[in-house]
């Protein structure tokens, strides 16, 4: 079964989605979408470095993303540029440096499109292993820090006052993001990872009454998007990343449609508009 490239892509994609969904909820709640973008753009630099130093790609991407989030935390503390200007600077800086590095390495023949948009053909057995082992670790840590992380999301001062150390959980959360980006890169591509994080969470919001429920639902919506996107990609010979994102977008649009049951009440819709 695992000999079939499509089956491998499907398995890996679903694995990524199950991890990306819950993590994506926090990105939505904390308004960190642009931060996710920055980290994933840095992934390209990670790929370039891995080729240069001949080390494992996933590991290199994780290290570069994690290092970038540390730099960001330090720069923020110095209170010089505004946070979004810093993000833009680091995001495009890392992307550009990565692309330039790749261009210098003339001896490497690199499928740049596959890197940017994902490539289902590229998913190997060991990739699946990385997705599931890495993914399980990310989820385990996320569950472990869930209460303090959620409290810090609602109100950092409150969490700190009641002894939950928000700075430490924020740091752990950033490392989790870096890890997810590293394992998701092959499936959806560098440019579209943030979409896989945000879209299922945004879709799940409408149907959730508690944060935990939203996390589970976004994992499921993400998996659904991956499955339908990959089938579409196979059917119409489109790159896997964009196909998955289009499927996730479709799910989101459907979730916006007025529904007569349960919680599709007035108040919820007011919230969506604002």
């Amino acid at each position: 079964m695992l000999d079939d490239f499509f089956m491998r892509a499907l398995l890996a994609g679903v694995g990524v989605a199950l991890v990306a969904g819950p993590l994506g909820c926090f990105i939505v709640w904390r308004r960190m979408a642009y931060f996710g973008d920055t980290l994933s753009h840095a992934a390209l630099l990670g790929v370039a470095l891995s080729l240069l130093l001949e080390v494992n790609t996933t590991l290199a991407v994780f290290v570069v993303s994690a290092a970038l989030s540390l730099v960001l935390i330090l720069l923020r503390k110095r209170e010089t540029l505004s946070s979004d200007a810093l993000l833009g600077l680091l995001s495009h800086g890392a992307l550009a440096v990565g692309l330039v590095c790749l261009a210098f390495m003339t001896w490497v023949r690199m499928d740049l499109l596959g890197l940017l948009f994902g490539d289902i053909l590229a998913v190997s057995r060991s990739d699946i292993g990385v997705v599931y082992v890495g993914g399980a670790m990310v989820l385990a840590v996320l569950i472990w820090i869930w209460r303090p992380l959620f409290a810090a999301t609602v109100n950092p001062d409150l969490a700190a006052a009641e002894g939950l150390n928000p700075e430490r959980v924020n740091l752990v959360f950033m490392f989790l993001m870096a890890a997810v980006i590293a394992i998701a890169m092959k499936i959806v591509g560098v440019l579209l990872i943030t979409a896989l994080l945000i879209m299922p969470a945004a879709t799940a919001r409408r149907f959730s009454t508690s944060p935990e429920q939203m996390a589970v639902l976004s994992a499921l919506f993400g998996a659904l998007a991956v499955i339908s996107g990959l089938f579409g990609s196979l059917e119409w010979d489109t790159p896997s990343g964009p196909s998955i994102v289009v499927a996730a977008l479709t799910l989101f649009m459907v979730s916006l449609m007025p529904m007569s049951f349960g919680r599709g009440d007035k108040k919820n819709r007011e919230g969506e508009i604002s």
Partner: protein
Amino acid sequence: MTSENEKSCLLRLEQAGVRRSERWLVRGVDLSVAAGEIVTLIGPNGSGKSTTAKMALGILKPTDGKAYRRPGLRIGYVPQKLMIDWTLPLNVRRFMSLTSRLDEGEAKAALERTGVSHLMQAEVRHLSGGEMQRVLLARAIARKPDLLVLDEPVQGVDYSGEIAIYDLISKLGEELGCGILMISHDLHVVMAATDQVVCLNGHVCCRGTPTAVSQSPAFRELFGHRAGAALAVYEHHHDHVHLPDGRVRHADGSVTDDCAGEHCADDHTHHHGHAEVATGSEVKTHA
């Protein structure tokens, strides 16, 4: 400080201050809260009240001086503002167990205490200002804290709700026997239940019992004379009485048509002997 005080002391700041890029937000603060004591920080906007509270809580490290908290101190915190975005599905029940596990019964009991147990399943972002403050209070006391820290606990609450909440806070303080550190930019009602007032203006400008603070020249300079007038109600100076026919009987027994004179020019407070919080409403309208 006696050894007894030392034992019951929950937290203490010694000459503590915070500096941010060459500017002192607040400096040289001495402060301590003991079990069962209510300490109120007052001061104008930007006077360093919140910064001081954050030092006391350990959210901010003092640049200068020392912050001591009793080891293992359990804190219940009511933040100044709590904005819940639409993206966050959060009902009151889940919010109650935000920082520590809490079973259904405990959550309900705490909400009952603050009078909002009917809101258990309500979405947090749909609460009104007064409901929100009551839920925040319930969450803080459900933790069975040794110390309650309240940052402007009546923000976004209308005036009659304000009195009710202060009433509730002093009642809770008595029932739970915990220390309370309260921040307010507002002076009138809050002072009634306070044991100690620390008035800040970038430094400690004056401190003491509400009465002593209200009479201190530094305080009056900072807040104007009316602030002092608003507090006079708690002193029970029955120096004149308003008779039903509108005339006024003074302390020396003489009766005049109105209360024109020294004590009415500034602190025109019709006090009728009860130092309850409710009296505050009269104070405010006259002050």
